[in-house]
């Protein structure tokens, strides 16, 4: 049975989609069968990192939720269709599928207006795990704690919480950790992203974070202009594998893979 890995942050702008895409790619590179679902229906974005644009985009999570297609129809095979850049070309032939949310304004406003059946989303995710025989299903969630995010957390085997080193993120993450514990999420992992290089005592920060949340901090990743510059064009950790950020991200991937 595969594992559902939800990636979440309490506030936006933590680099969540970028981290999710790179994590999924790193795991797929190790010949695991990997799915990535964009449940950030209000503000989708992860598709760009996998080389999918509006023209190429076929069926979406929105179509599935509105009963227009099956969840399998939404799959975009990155290993077959998204290898148009230097980083992504390494994914050729790998078993990595993306399940994108619609980027059409009409679809987004419809779902915001009408809402959707959270249970149907859950059914879809369970179907994917089964039919594609996924080892890992990564869920890119919407920031905050709305209903679909609570669902993603509730069904997770692993919840990876991303936070920046500031007190607003520390506060919001504390509430999310309490929710995860209340929903019996078996594995909680933490990741600090966008740390200004050299500004903090990393050992001290790690000790404080782990002590506060009672969960392992997998890595402290640096804030970096090159990542910001590259983010929407390619998978950074594949394109620049020797970069400090990429090395740190691989330790996060190792932490995910080592969960039994």
């Amino acid at each position: 049975m595969g594992k559902i890995v939800s990636i979440h942050s309490f506030r936006g702008g933590t680099g969540k989609s970028n981290t999710t895409a790179n994590l999924a790619a790193q795991v797929a590179l190790r010949d695991k069968r990997v799915g990535v679902v964009d449940t950030d229906i209000q503000s989708p974005g992860i598709h760009v990192l996998f080389g999918l644009d509006e023209q190429k985009m076929g069926r979406t999570i929105n179509d599935y939720l509105h009963g227009k297609c099956s969840i399998g129809d939404v799959a975009f095979s990155v290993g077959e269709n998204g290898t148009d850049s230097l980083g992504r070309s390494q994914l050729a032939g790998k078993k990595l599928w993306l399940f994108p949310s619609s980027i059409k304004g009409r679809d987004i406003s419809q779902i915001l207006r009408e809402g959707y059946d959270v249970n149907k989303l859950n059914e879809g995710l369970q179907t994917l795990m089964r039919e594609l025989e996924l080892d890992y299903l990564f869920i890119d969630t919407h920031p905050g704690l709305n209903e679909e995010t609570l669902l993603s957390i509730a069904i997770s085997d692993i919840l990876l919480l991303i936070l920046r080193p500031d007190n607003q993120d520390f506060q919001g993450t504390a509430v999310t950790v309490d929710i995860a514990r209340s929903l019996d999420v078996p594995n909680l992992l933490l990741l600090v992203n966008k740390a200004v290089p050299g500004k903090y005592d990393y050992e001290d920060l790690k000790a404080q974070v782990e002590n506060l949340y009672g969960a392992p901090l997998t890595s402290i990743l640096p804030l970096n202009f090159e990542i910001a510059d590259n983010a929407s064009k390619d998978l950074f950790s594949l394109r620049f594998p020797d970069h400090e950020w990429s090395q740190g991200l691989r330790s996060v991937a190792e932490a995910v893979l080592s969960v039994k």
């Binding site: 069904i155 506060q171 504390a174 929710i179 209340s182 050299g198 404080q208 506060l212």
Partner: protein, 250 residues
């Protein structure tokens, strides 16, 4: 005994920069004008501002050169030992003593009065030339050190401390004697540059220690708001069932 004393005096004179280049017969004449003096520990030889007309060469023991800082407390500029000289500038100018001298131990001194020197120079113009040559050579050396200090100052101002690493700079850390005031200055300058660089590097490394601050009351309130809905109760129940199902499949 007298001859021994004269020989010893000549030996001392030969060790000073002013007289080291003089021929034996001149040193012998000069030695007759030397007055031997003794100081006990903590005794003051002269104070800053005193009128001065003598040069003192140290035979044995140590003295410290002192001045006062802006608040009136004593500041030691340097320490001098056997063979070194103090007060030599007073031989040629009439200015008062620029610093005081205090004995650090029991000290023997060779005093040469200005009158005695001027009398000798009157009789032996060739000696005057040798003395001037000695002073001139030292000035030339000082100029080299001063130029070095100027170069380093400019580099430091630009944040370039590379001169510290250059191997030739190491020599400036060697002990510089009182005789070599310019070299002594450069040595102090070099130490200062190293300390400034060390402080700058320490500042760069100073990292911010974040203190994680959580408002526990707010945390509790938000948690209760989120978990009090029917949706949440239902979700919790469903999640539990789902986990059990998947556990069974394993």
């Amino acid at each position: 005994m007298v001859n021994d004393m004269t020989d010893d005096t000549i030996l001392q004179l030969r060790k000073t920069f002013l007289f080291s280049g003089l021929p034996e017969d001149v040193l012998s004449v000069l030695s007759k004008s030397i007055v031997h003096r003794r100081l006990s520990k903590d005794e003051i030889l002269f104070r800053k501002g005193d009128a001065g007309d003598s040069l003192f060469m140290i035979g044995s023991g140590w003295v410290k050169i002192v001045t006062e800082d802006g608040l009136g407390s004593q500041l030691t500029l340097n320490q001098c030992g056997p063979g070194e000289a103090v007060g030599e500038m007073s031989l040629f100018d009439q200015a008062p003593r620029s610093a005081g001298v205090v004995a650090l131990s029991d000290v023997t001194l060779l005093e040469l009065k200005q009158d005695a020197l001027l009398k000798l120079l009157d009789q032996r113009p060739d000696v005057a030339l040798l003395v001037i040559r000695g002073i001139s050579s030292r000035l030339r050396g000082s100029t080299t050190y001063i130029e070095k200090a100027i170069e380093w100052s400019k580099k430091m101002a630009e944040g370039d401390f590379s001169f510290i690493e250059q191997s030739s700079s190491g020599e400036f850390l060697e002990h510089a004697t009182q005789e070599d005031r310019a070299k002594q200055f450069l040595s102090e300058f070099f130490k200062m540059a190293r300390n400034v660089r060390a402080r700058e590097e320490k500042l760069k490394q100073q990292v911010e220690k974040l203190t994680l601050q959580i408002d526990e009351a707010r945390r509790k309130q938000e948690f209760e708001e989120l978990t009090s809905s029917d949706f949440y109760a239902n979700l919790k129940e469903q999640a539990k069932k789902l986990r059990e199902q998947r556990q069974d499949k394993k």
